[in-house]
Symmetry: D2
Subunit: 335 residues, 4 copies
Amino acid sequence: MTSTRLDAARKGTPREQLDLVRELAAAHSNWGRWGADDELGTLNLADARAVGRGAASVLDGRVFSLALPLGQDGPQNGTLGRFNPVHLMLRDGGDVVTGAMVDDFYDGRDRHMRGTDGLVILPLQAGTHWDALSHVMFEGRMYNDRPAAEVSSRGARRNAISRAAAHVVTRGVLLDLPRHLNDGRPLAPGRSVGADELRSCARAQGCEVEEGDALLIRTGHLQRYRSAGAWSDYVAGPAPGLSLDSAHWLAERGVAAVAVDTWAAEVLPNETPAVMQPLHIVLVWSMGLLLGEMFALDELAEDCARDGRYTFLFSAPPLPFDGGVASPVNPVAVK
Amino acid sequence: MTSTRLDAARKGTPREQLDLVRELAAAHSNWGRWGADDELGTLNLADARAVGRGAASVLDGRVFSLALPLGQDGPQNGTLGRFNPVHLMLRDGGDVVTGAMVDDFYDGRDRHMRGTDGLVILPLQAGTHWDALSHVMFEGRMYNDRPAAEVSSRGARRNAISRAAAHVVTRGVLLDLPRHLNDGRPLAPGRSVGADELRSCARAQGCEVEEGDALLIRTGHLQRYRSAGAWSDYVAGPAPGLSLDSAHWLAERGVAAVAVDTWAAEVLPNETPAVMQPLHIVLVWSMGLLLGEMFALDELAEDCARDGRYTFLFSAPPLPFDGGVASPVNPVAVK
Amino acid sequence: MTSTRLDAARKGTPREQLDLVRELAAAHSNWGRWGADDELGTLNLADARAVGRGAASVLDGRVFSLALPLGQDGPQNGTLGRFNPVHLMLRDGGDVVTGAMVDDFYDGRDRHMRGTDGLVILPLQAGTHWDALSHVMFEGRMYNDRPAAEVSSRGARRNAISRAAAHVVTRGVLLDLPRHLNDGRPLAPGRSVGADELRSCARAQGCEVEEGDALLIRTGHLQRYRSAGAWSDYVAGPAPGLSLDSAHWLAERGVAAVAVDTWAAEVLPNETPAVMQPLHIVLVWSMGLLLGEMFALDELAEDCARDGRYTFLFSAPPLPFDGGVASPVNPVAVK
Amino acid sequence: MTSTRLDAARKGTPREQLDLVRELAAAHSNWGRWGADDELGTLNLADARAVGRGAASVLDGRVFSLALPLGQDGPQNGTLGRFNPVHLMLRDGGDVVTGAMVDDFYDGRDRHMRGTDGLVILPLQAGTHWDALSHVMFEGRMYNDRPAAEVSSRGARRNAISRAAAHVVTRGVLLDLPRHLNDGRPLAPGRSVGADELRSCARAQGCEVEEGDALLIRTGHLQRYRSAGAWSDYVAGPAPGLSLDSAHWLAERGVAAVAVDTWAAEVLPNETPAVMQPLHIVLVWSMGLLLGEMFALDELAEDCARDGRYTFLFSAPPLPFDGGVASPVNPVAVK
């Protein structure tokens, strides 16, 4: 698809926009590629070779956590019903000090040791997270031709996040777009990034994206808000991000997973006003690609800029929630 | 401490039992070892060298998830107020099918794509988890001489699990006790395992535990219940596990973290009836050791028996819950 | 409908059972009776006259709470995903004692007063509750011909419990079946009660059920379990209760609401094995009757037996949960 | 206490302010008045006579609900960790439409009827609520000389809201301050109301407050925000309310409970800057008075203005949460 064709369709009628998304989805579909029962999608590409390539990228033993803190200071503001994690204590140090713990938890018998326990009320997409292949619905279906009805009030019977539990360890490649495109400054809200820029960024960084790699794409958008000290419209507001035009390159490269430092991964406002999150449709729904959002990539990017190495071992297995359509994750990059 | 001395004290008066625990705790204390501000404990030992050793253990690219599924079929039964995760949908496939999603979430405007969202109510110790250093209180304090009061209804101000977010990647060593001690059968409930048996197991497996390694100890107890198809008294019931006598070897070896396939890691009933979870006091409270519970080690153990390699890269960073005294985790072993 | 006809159909084929339920539902339907927009159902009958009759029943000023305690000791066991309320503290006395409250909640400024706060995770049908008219679905619809789709993941757009917020105050009549039918002993599990017995019980008690009254029906089943000290199969197990044969009398009398001291109000096992909760269909779905379950009626019954007065003011407005399909309630009877 | 004395102290040093509150608390203390075991406080005054007086106030059979809706559109904004109720569905109409309900909840057996179920995550003080006597701590204690330690992470062992379950039915009296003092317009934020104005308002309305009555005090503040269509600073912002000077009159009258249409009941900012919520200390902590907040009194006030009757039956029993320090409530006034 030429960029011109894309531009025309994006500015076209709602029908033309929808046709464009359908066309792109059809062009990159992996439905059936790994069998009718497949629930892994592009994670199938993160094979033993990719894992080995990841391990071989560990040279210095430095570990980076790529997760936002999970707590009341998170970015959520109620959009889509999501809120910041609510953390509550089942028993705490106050109970130790007052002596209540012995009565309330140990039947009044003091055996000297005390334990504390906590509980969290956690929207699965509240912080740094993976979208499961059951997160995106289009034309009444989800990845690999399964009906929307497979996600009931009990959760996802198919394409649940738990399926990925042993599959998100591979080589990671960071693409630091601010450094490549903008003298280190965050990309502007609304700035879309297509295949050419991703390719040239990788080349400039001296790394090649290989089949089964996880791609971490830094736009600087998270840093923008962290510097400002307020989340304001980080959730659902205008943001830089991937263009529909990136899909063909991600498919061609055989990327296993993509994670971005924004709320939506793809550029906002949507490139197709008439079709919400069109790139989600192409990547998650059609390709079966694991998409990560709100990844904290700034510290890793600093390190990569320092030593010029943008590849590492990437380990980010989701929690195996039965029926989960997403999972919070603490991804690590190991260099 | 000789095994005889331990035996005598364990069978002694409540006061003698308490003195024993205090003595062991004092003998292995790491309070102050890494400074008064330290909140990492033995994770300090998982340095770049240990990470490199872990990465070098990846030979075949096989990945194992060591987590129990998180859902209503989990082992919790209400003990200590813990229950199995409650998973609920914020919006689901039913809303897609009925059309409610457009009205309820997209202001009545149909832009073709639909998303599903979930939420979980999750006791942090419900499934496979790490205990934070703020989980264990003794004599009114926790690791590194901090008062119990530092864990309020808001959570832990110090020693929170979030501190470990970038620190649980290292080499892992599996000790498969059933294969070493019991012809592959699960150890009996109440069977304690001390330093000699851990050492001889490692030797028999042809591996040496080195400073900064994470030690995964399989008792077969989880398999016992999974085979039976019911959790019955898996939580808080009699179980095989580590003896107080294991502490000196874990300290001497410089182990960074220990995880076991039981609810309590240490043997149950407690070796010191008058002091609850005495080994938690020595390991977590005094040594500052990250302790993992309910790890699912059976599949990994099968693989290790097959190829004779009991070492691997171990990646198990907790979720960075603000103030968390524990965290669910999906640990992976990469061989 | 004769009792013979009912018996025959109940023992008939699944199709005959379904036809019976449909026939009864049609016979007693209130759909459209109070307009196409009605969401109150038989609560329309609890008019000013009924309220006045209730107030006139207050002679001595005694107040009875008819609710089970809400807490971990409740009857729920996970059936239908319902669990007992989980009560957690946002801030508690321990925080007061340790001083943490000032730092955590008052910005470090001690202004002498301290407050405690709690939170509850509460399945709406966990304890004593009203079913909303949106709770029962049959043939894809709910009361007053509304499609099931009107109850989305966001809750009920129509027939929500909040609609009843100002409407459950009326005269109450207690029918104490154990005293009337069984020398005061609880009715046996599986014992069904039809129109004749309800009528004769009222007569024996010297009271007449009038249009707009709320009818509280005691079977003794709750007392059976409370005496035994364990809930065992109180939820969803065999229980005495209303027969399908009671519907015509409840309709004829113009009862505004019915509450029973059992989990299901109607007899269990279901009279029509092929149709689950058939009386729910007739009463809630077709008549639009507010149905209450797990009401604690024993203390009130004692009092009524003592003074021979089985009528009282009944006040039991539900909490106005937006979209709620049920509500916990603390009903009071005032004599 | 003269108004002059109050004024002087309020403007005095922090120490003088604290002394004032202590003095007022001591002057009106009910600790021990109903015995050392009492957990009801002034609800003891709502005796059979008061209940009878309430019932006798029912003349026309009109019922008013005084609760705010419970849902995401509520007033909470995170202050003190409180948030608006989160309502989630355990099973909904979407599951009915897709057929998932039969598989997920009925073991695949279609027995024609379907049920919907919901769950709420509910801070107990999120909406219209009663504060329990365990909500207010001062000098390390709560009502009737009980230590703060009696409220642990499990909730309140003493003075829990459940104790009031059968005790909040009495005569209610509405004092409509906007109509009395301000031509019907809401009182200004910061406007305090003392004994004289309460007394004169009652007199102007032609009603006398008697021992055991519940007093509902309308400031118009809730209406101010509802008219504006946004909650903005309704929670914790400046508000009209009761003055410390009201305490002596409430005590002298023997009021059983007080409820106001504001977040804090007492005037904000606090009259004693150095002592937070001083009237809570005097009323709740010392007198043991049940205090209600965020009561929706506007519709009732309209009716009272219409017929000139400001007395009614008031029924507002809290839900019996084990250990609750507050409870949501749907209070009703019956005229």
